[in-house]
Symmetry: C2
Subunit: 189 residues, 2 copies
């Protein structure tokens, strides 16, 4: 996706550990116009699929998922990372390891909001080692829902998440795939 890649090159910064910082338009300050272009692009890529619901994970997947959901005309459900008194007791759970933060946490979705047989599209901002997406796949499986595919804004192609997901035969659409970072410069695949 051209407009996204342009923006990543113009404003993306490389932080320690090959973290790609896109704080200025994607996950701290949010550019709504670009997000709408991203939403339209996801719709274009999955236009032939029947989708009932978009599943994402807090925090930074939410903004992208809700804007995209307007083009699919479906509700969004986001998996929660923190225990909350407000969450139903009956939940589908999975554990996710974050390499960036070096912690393992539990993600939860109320059993009310993913139903057997529903067609689910996963949307998230980043794909690196793929652990968050794997957690969501696990929840979809436990709920006996159907996975339609995974839509990612920025895939870090030099980490193994994308490869693992594609090898499972899952349809993965990444709008920008960073092949590598060379001398602080981002090279797209």
């Amino acid at each position: 996706m051209k407009a996204l890649k342009k923006r990543i090159l113009e404003e993306g910064a490389i932080a320690h550990g090959n973290v790609i910082k896109v704080d200025s338009f994607l996950n701290h300050q949010i550019d709504i116009e670009l997000l709408n272009e991203i939403g339209k692009e996801f719709k274009a890529r999955f236009q032939n699929e029947k989708i009932d619901k978009i599943l994402t994970i807090e925090v930074s997947g939410i903004a992208i998922a809700v804007i995209a959901a307007q083009y699919f005309n479906v509700p969004v459900v986001f998996a929660k990372k923190t225990e909350s008194k407000n969450l139903d007791k009956e939940t589908y759970e999975s554990t996710v390891h974050s390499y960036t933060k070096n912690i393992t946490y539990t993600i939860r979705v109320s059993k009310k909001y993913i139903n057997e047989g529903e067609n689910i599209l996963i949307i998230d901002d980043f794909l690196a080692n793929g652990k968050a997406v794997e957690g969501l796949l696990d929840i979809i499986k436990k709920a006996k829902a159907n996975l339609i595919g995974v839509g990612i804004v920025i895939e870090k192609g030099f980490q193994k998440g994308g490869k693992n997901i594609r090898e499972k035969g899952i349809r993965l659409e990444s709008l920008a795939i960073v092949d590598r970072v060379e001398d602080g410069r981002i090279i797209f695949r």
Copy 2:
């Protein structure tokens, strides 16, 4: 706002400690159509104001803020509750006490994304004791930005946040104000 109140009455549940659960459409599963009506209503209420940016706080303010921002045609910035390697070192900070969770946490916004003189509209899902909004007000003040007002989806009128904010002379627009909960029933003001 009629459609919102109807939905709260139909689907809202009262959990322990007068927590109003709106998981089915606002903060776990998200009804995008209702969110668009909410966004339009915020725009209608602040239509005569010049707004440069919408400020919210993770997690559940984000979905509402980004949908509303489409009607204002401005970017969203969300304050972060967790320390992150990805966040800039230069931040405006404030502390917020959560009565629900009984913890005090630090909220942060990168100094890059709120600028002196910018006209800021705060948007959030709930207003109870008002501590999250007070933290955002503090950050706006530290950034020397201009507060235009506060837009809240559900105000718990029986807690003191709304009163405190109005007494400061701040324009507060709450789309539904719950006056009290009687025998498990929600009564709007």
